[in-house]
């Protein structure tokens, strides 16, 4: 008996969720620029509204172009489905808002993207949702921070800014022992480098703005449900396991054994909060995903060459990249990230904030801006930009030095990037 083969990652990147348009024959995914969709008759309309049929009603809730993106990312991650959102932040908010409410509590890694940290630290408390931040490497801290009202554990596959590698299987085990799901931000790794569901995560989201889109042209997010978490057995999530008056008394877990979370997120979260993605954005991100395997391979290859160069430079004090033996998560990275640790990393330049500014201003290929994951190489000097109001002591607490430079390595010829960096290092010396 020949065992059947499922499509592999590179093929899914091109085909999952999409086939030639049956009406026009269009091979590429059409952009369905329409707010709404005509019902075949009154019964069809009622059936769509009552979830007796699948289909599109209104593009805030679903759209055919977005559906291709959602199904493709779900296929690449190994999940049961996904929801495309207006941004990565919208995806995070949707995940939290679907299962948490006033009085809920979250345990999160303290090594988070600044926007996520702000949401959890300052914004959600206004709505009654509190977060305890823990050192992501401290498993006892994760466990110890869980309270009776905790709804979620949350971390990034590669933390910010030090690229702390999340020990997904260990943190997932802690979450599951407490009957809680683990949510992971996988933006820096993409499913090409790491599939969090394979290691026990239950929910994954991306800022699709970054490597999934890959070209710096569109803001978007994707929230993926792994379909693994048993909400009913947990007993902590009546939002998913008891009738919901806001949607025909639906018990989402009864409707779908494996996708109750996504059903509620779409039927409530997208409907009521409305942070949907434009189909034009979905198309642009799909274009990026078609070449995701090729790009991620090249991103990592270039990053390794740049790091090898920087490691030999006297002006460079340290480099934070988990493939380096000096990184505290080196062993874990070797196990979780054999294809590479991504293309975003920080290094410390010898000298003060002024040296950092001179370095940035001497670069010609690297673009000085606040983003990562573009096909083009990017750079930022946190001490003079995103964190300029902070004292050196406060910066140190956040893991940022006056000379810390963050690079996002693009797809250019690596020798050109190295030459650009060499010029900037010379300039930094003053």
């Amino acid at each position: 008996m020949a065992a059947p083969r499922s499509l592999q990652f590179d093929t899914l990147s091109l085909h999952a969720g999409q086939r030639p348009d049956p009406v026009t024959g269009a091979r590429a995914t059409p952009i369905y620029f329409t707010t709404s969709f005509v019902f075949r008759d009154a019964d069809h309309a009622a059936a769509l509204f009552n979830m007796e049929r699948g289909g599109h009603v209104y593009s805030r809730i679903s759209n055919p172009t977005n559906a291709v993106l959602e199904e493709r990312v779900a296929a690449l991650e190994g999940g049961v489905g996904a929801i495309a959102t207006a941004s990565g932040q919208a995806a995070l908010h949707l995940a939290i808002a679907t299962i948490a409410a006033a009085g809920s509590h979250i345990v999160a890694s303290r090594a988070l993207y600044g926007g996520s940290h702000n949401l959890l630290s300052y914004t959600l408390p206004r709505f009654g949702i509190e977060t305890t931040f823990v050192n992501p490497r401290d498993l006892a801290a994760w466990k110890g921070a869980i309270r009776p009202n905790t709804k979620l554990l949350f971390g990034e596959t590669l933390g910010n800014p030090g690229l702390d590698v999340l020990d997904i299987s260990s943190v997932a085990a802690i979450a599951h022992a407490a009957k809680l799901p683990l949510l992971v931000d996988a933006t820096f790794t993409t499913p090409y480098l790491l599939k969090p569901f394979d290691h026990g995560a239950d929910l994954v989201y991306h800022s699709a703005t970054k490597f999934l889109g890959g070209h710096g042209v569109a803001i978007g997010g994707v929230l993926v449900d792994g379909g693994t978490f048993d909400w009913e057995a947990s007993g902590k999530f009546p939002e998913l396991t008891e009738p919901y008056a806001g949607f025909h008394g639906m018990d989402f877990q009864e409707e779908s054994t494996v996708a109750a979370f996504l059903l509620r997120a779409r039927r409530e979260g997208l409907r009521d909060f409305g942070a949907c993605m434009s189909p034009a954005t979905a198309f642009q991100i799909l274009q990026g995903i078609e070449t995701l395997p090729l790009r991620m391979h090249k991103h990592v290859e270039n990053t390794r060459k740049v790091i090898a160069f920087l490691g030999k430079e006297a002006a460079v004090e340290s480099i934070a990249y988990p493939e380096l033996p000096s990184h505290p998560d080196h062993a874990l990275a070797k196990r979780l990230l054999p294809r590479g640790c991504g293309a975003v990393f920080g290094f410390n330049l010898k000298g003060d904030r002024a040296a950092g500014r001179r370095f940035i201003e001497a670069l010609r290929i690297f673009s000085h801006l606040a983003n990562v994951g573009d096909a083009k190489s990017l750079v930022i000097h946190p001490a003079s930009t995103t964190h300029f109001r902070m004292s050196d002591a406060a910066l140190a607490e956040a893991g940022i030095g006056p000379g810390t430079i963050r690079l996002s390595i693009g797809l250019e010829d690596p020798e050109d990037l190295i030459e650009d960096l060499a010029r900037a290092l010379r300039a930094a010396k003053g």
């Binding site: 008996m1 999952a16 929801i83 409707e255 494996v258």
Partner: protein, 265 residues
């Protein structure tokens, strides 16, 4: 709704409505290593269109207690017990794959309790290759992968199931993984061990719909048509470009075929 059958909990999804046993009843019977949720759209639609719906979790599956039953005959007996427990006199039975054999067996043995049968993704004999049967016993994860790959005809589904944005292939895999260890082998052994399909088919008195996938690699459509020829009052509908997971891949077409079949009574 939750019932008790032979001292075990028996779960049946009623389509989001309270069961009204005075309405024409429809029982949905899932395939091996699955549960009621494979019928989510079709069962919910019928429940809101004048039918009393019972989409069951067979013993040992989903939310039902007990151990998986060892034979198709035992499962057919359990369906009758379910009708008794729900106080339903007679019902149309809609079964998929293993569930289709259960519906066939049940209709042949209980003509007074079964008004019609719809068999989806069906075949007789429903043999399981020795390699796959062994894998269901000793390598469940590998077996899940093989079954999932064989069960789907493509990598893009419209309008997907249960709706846009759901990855049908991933959902089917996770649903299998949710069942308890041992259920997969028990189910596939029951299918493999069912020997009386043609005899039972000849005994079926009620109308029968055979809903087949043209690209079904688990239960090829030609094998379904062979079985259909043995049922005196049968109709065959073949869905082009559908694989074994017809409800996931072609939810609207499946629904429309079922609605037309049920309305014909």
């Amino acid at each position: 709704m939750e019932l008790r059958i032979a001292n075990d909990a028996a779960y049946a999804y009623t389509g989001g409505k309270t069961l009204d046993a005075n309405l024409p009843a429809v029982v949905f019977i899932h395939g091996g290593e699955q549960d009621h949720s494979v019928w989510a759209l079709q069962s919910r639609y019928l429940a809101h269109h004048g039918y009393a719906v019972l989409a069951v979790d067979l013993p040992g599956h989903g939310k039902s207690g007990g151990a998986p039953l060892a034979s198709i005959e035992d499962m057919a007996g359990w369906i009758v017990a379910l009708l008794d427990a729900a106080k339903v006199n007679a019902a149309a039975l809609i079964g998929h794959s293993m569930g289709s054999l259960v519906a066939l067996e049940c209709a042949a043995r209980n003509p007074q309790r079964v008004s019609r049968i719809a068999l989806l993704g069906t075949a007789f004999p429903m043999r399981v290759s020795p390699d796959l049967l062994q894998a269901t016993k000793t390598r469940e994860s590998d077996a899940h992968g093989m079954i999932n790959a064989w069960s789907h005809s493509g990598y893009a589904h419209y309008p997907s199931n249960p709706g846009p944005g759901f990855w049908v292939i991933g959902g089917n895999l996770r649903l299998m993984q949710r069942q308890k260890p041992g259920v997969l082998h028990a189910d596939f052994a029951a299918c493999d061990g069912y020997k009386t399909g043609f005899e039972r088919a000849a005994q079926v008195k009620c109308p029968a719909l055979f809903l087949l996938g043209a690209r079904d690699a688990m239960t090829p459509a030609r094998a379904g048509r062979d079985l259909a020829r043995a049922v005196p009052n049968s109709t065959v509908v073949t869905l082009g470009s559908a694989g074994h997971n017809l409800m996931g891949e072609k939810p609207d077409e499946v629904l429309e075929a079922l609605v037309e079949f049920l309305r014909a009574s």
